[in-house]
């Protein structure tokens, strides 16, 4: 094995299939039509026909046994199209449930990102408005709860199907390994990071295309160096976060979890999954925030008008990332993974 930054032939096929699927089936008219709930049932059912929700499960559990490296390619294509479907949440949650037979055919599962409140409520669960099954921590236990989804979401920045869900009311399964939650949350971080890379890349492409088309002072605004230099900031952030996503996926696929990987801050070697997942999430959130900000800005006034697509990207760049936590707290968590505190 050797350092290689290309997609494998299999990954390339997956990228082609899903990029073309999402661009045909999830144009921005579909994204707009799915607002405010943020769910497109027809699109979801097409993905079910393709058996995409089960991709992330082992073959023994009826899945396709896809690697993380394959899944992040799909996730990036999903992010590029802002596809309003709970695919990434479902992957993260259904992997925890694999082998339990709890999840029925056609059901949507999701992950509650934070432990429940004392009252037994999981607040603002992503895909909580549409998922039948929620997996999360409740009073120190890892549980899955089946209940009726509200099919309504509070008005929110990224038009995402968020909802509060009960961690106690409904058909309930206690999972035996509470430690599985941390791994599932890290996998959610990596899937979401890949989708944020897709948002950032598409925002850059939209921004470049607009800057070449829009003229001012007798030439395309993309011919002005100030605009060029603003956009030229972005490839480092986007490529950097994409590589972090793929490195995290590589670490997961190679079993570099629970201390099997390396964290050597003396020479900068990091191959352990958890810190790589944290880095991938933080960096791609930053890339998506900055890329959508610059791209929107170079649209001038049109950028914040609802008619233009870039505002859809701008809002989801924040909505999909900030649902987890304040990035500053995520960085503190990363610091704890890298350096032990002094007694």
């Amino acid at each position: 094995m050797a350092i290689d930054f290309s997609l494998s032939p299999d990954q390339q096929v997956i990228a082609d299939v899903f990029t073309s699927f999402f661009s045909q089936e999830s144009g921005t008219e579909v994204v707009r039509a799915a607002e405010p709930l943020g769910h497109a049932p027809e699109l979801w059912s097409k993905l079910q026909d393709m058996e995409a929700p089960a991709m992330a499960l082992p073959e023994a559990q009826g899945g396709a046994g896809a690697t993380m490296a394959d899944l992040v390619v799909v996730a990036e294509a999903l992010g590029r199209a802002l596809a309003p479907v709970p695919l990434l949440e479902h992957w993260a949650a259904s992997r925890v449930l694999a082998g339990s037979n709890f999840l029925a055919d056609g059901e949507i599962a999701t992950l509650a990102l934070r432990p429940s409140t004392d009252e037994g409520i999981w607040r603002l669960v992503p895909a909580g408005a549409i998922a039948q099954v929620v997996v999360g921590l409740d009073d120190g236990e890892l549980v899955a709860v089946r209940s009726e989804p509200p099919l309504r979401a509070p008005k929110n920045h990224g038009s995402a199907p968020l909802a509060d869900r009960s961690s106690r009311l409904g058909e309930r399964l206690v999972l035996t390994e509470p430690g599985a939650f941390d791994l599932a949350l890290d996998e959610w971080r990596v899937f979401t990071a890949a989708a944020l890379v897709g948002i950032a890349q598409q925002a850059l492409d939209i921004g470049v295309a607009y800057a070449l088309e829009r003229t001012a002072f007798g030439r395309p605004i993309g011919a002005f160096q100030s605009v060029q230099h603003g956009l030229a900031e972005l490839p480092a952030l986007i490529d950097g976060s994409r590589f972090l996503v793929h490195k995290a996926a590589w670490a997961r696929d190679n079993g570099l979890i629970h201390g099997a990987g390396e964290i050597n801050m003396d020479d900068g070697t990091i191959t352990e999954f958890a810190p790589l997942a944290a880095m991938a999430f933080l960096e791609s959130a930053e890339a998506a925030a900055v890329a959508t900000d610059k791209s929107l800005h170079y649209h001038g006034g049109y950028g914040f008008s609802l008619e233009y697509d870039i505002q859809l990207y701008f809002r989801r760049a924040r909505g999909w990332a900030n649902i987890l936590n304040d990035p500053a707290r995520e960085r503190l968590r990363l610091a704890d993974l890298l350096w032990t505190r002094e007694a």
Binding site: A2, D239, K247
Partner: protein, 378 residues
């Protein structure tokens, strides 16, 4: 994608690290970081004897991973690599486009670690605008007459060779254009004046007064110097000088641990950001190296890595200095200095890095035009 280092490269890394351990005494390291001359002839010799300089030379058929590894390991260790990087670079240019004579003389000197080389590119009247240079070369039968001045000829005071870009005067038969020479520094007519900087680096101005040199020192074709230069710039960008965040973070961590700041959330949060940027800089650099290894010219990938890594280095060195408070102002070797003075060193050392080897602005032009396919803007 795969992030595994091949076994032969793991072995090379081990070999490089053990040479650093063996050769670099505290005295050598201190001299390399306090005299302004970031060079150790002992290290150059040891790396040459182990065949590592030849492996780390850029060029067609060469292994870009070996080149990156020497540079990145040196950055992590704090090993003086500046002159050595220039030596392998010019050896690579000569290997790609030089004559047998040039390879046997200058090339052999550089790869044996015996003599250093300086770059005579930038001039007092202009930095990034290389086509505007005024150093002139004129044919005179079988020889050439050269007149002019160069700035930032770092290492000229210890170098055996200069890699010199000139503008050639047109004559009856020839168009003029640019001509590159590789010249012995003891050629009569060359003088060297020091330029002392705040950056920890001593540089030089060099003057070329009525040099008379033979045709055998022309690199590539006369008048085709631009081609030679583009070979060099293709080698240069984004494969070295992108790994400084790792030692910066290590040194800052040592200070934070000592001073009790390591548990401070403000400190920890920013340290985590430095760790992310260090990973990104390394991944962007590895991508450039991989691009080169697959036989493609890594032009825009190198620019992307270079701008990101050098700007992140400046940003975080300056943060580290502020975070260390008054002790962060104290220099190398000063009693009580934060991290032994390395934080002050990093602020100084990072400052010229967004200028050297292509300014951030030139690199952003390159990214906009060639990566994003936007119109040429000046």
């Amino acid at each position: 994608m795969d992030f595994t280092l091949e076994e032969k490269h793991q072995a090379l890394r081990t070999q490089i690290r053990s040479i650093f351990e063996d050769v670099l005494t505290d005295e050598i390291l201190e001299a390399a970081h306090t005299t302004g001359t970031n060079h150790s002839p002992e290290l150059a010799k040891a790396l040459a004897d182990a065949g590592i300089l030849a492996q780390a030379m850029p060029g067609p058929g060469q292994d870009p991973v070996a080149m990156w590894m020497l540079s990145s390991e040196a950055e992590k260790f704090g090993a003086p690599i500046d002159a050595i990087g220039m030596m392998t670079m010019i050896a690579g240019v000569l290997d790609a486009v030089g004559t047998e004579h040039q390879k046997a003389t200058a090339g052999a000197d550089l790869l044996s670690g015996e003599k250093a080389v300086c770059f005579g590119l930038t001039e007092p009247g202009g930095g990034s605008d290389l086509p505007a240079i005024t150093t002139r070369s004129r044919r005179d039968g079988d020889s050439w007459i050269i007149n002019g001045a160069k700035m930032w000829t770092t290492m000229a005071h210890i170098a055996g060779w200069v890699f010199l870009l000139t503008k050639t005067e047109a004559d009856g038969e020839h168009q003029g254009g640019f001509t590159v020479f590789i010249l012995p520094m003891d050629t009569p007519g060359i003088t060297v004046d020091p330029i002392w900087t705040m950056s920890t680096e001593r540089s030089n101005a060099t003057f070329y007064d009525d040099l008379r040199v033979g045709n055998e020192w022309v690199v590539g074709e006369p008048g085709q110097g631009w081609k030679v230069l583009s070979v060099m710039l293709g080698f240069e960008r984004g494969m070295g000088n992108t790994g400084a965040l790792t030692p910066l973070l290590r040194r800052f961590h040592d200070w934070a641990k000592e001073s009790g700041a390591l548990n401070d959330p403000l400190t920890r949060e920013h340290m985590a950001q430095i760790a992310i940027d260090a990973q990104v800089a390394e991944l962007l650099t590895q991508r450039t190296v991989w691009t080169a290894a697959t036989g493609q010219p890594p032009g825009t990938e190198g620019s992307i890595a270079k701008v990101f890594a050098t700007e992140a280095y400046q940003r975080h060195a300056r943060w580290a200095q502020a975070a260390a408070g008054p002790q962060g102002l104290l220099g190398l070797g000063v009693d009580g200095a934060a991290a032994g003075g390395w934080i002050d060193y990093d602020v100084r050392h990072s400052t010229p890095q967004t200028l050297q080897g292509g300014t951030s602005e030139i690199n952003r032009n390159n990214i906009a035009e060639r990566h994003l396919k936007m119109p040429r803007a000046r």
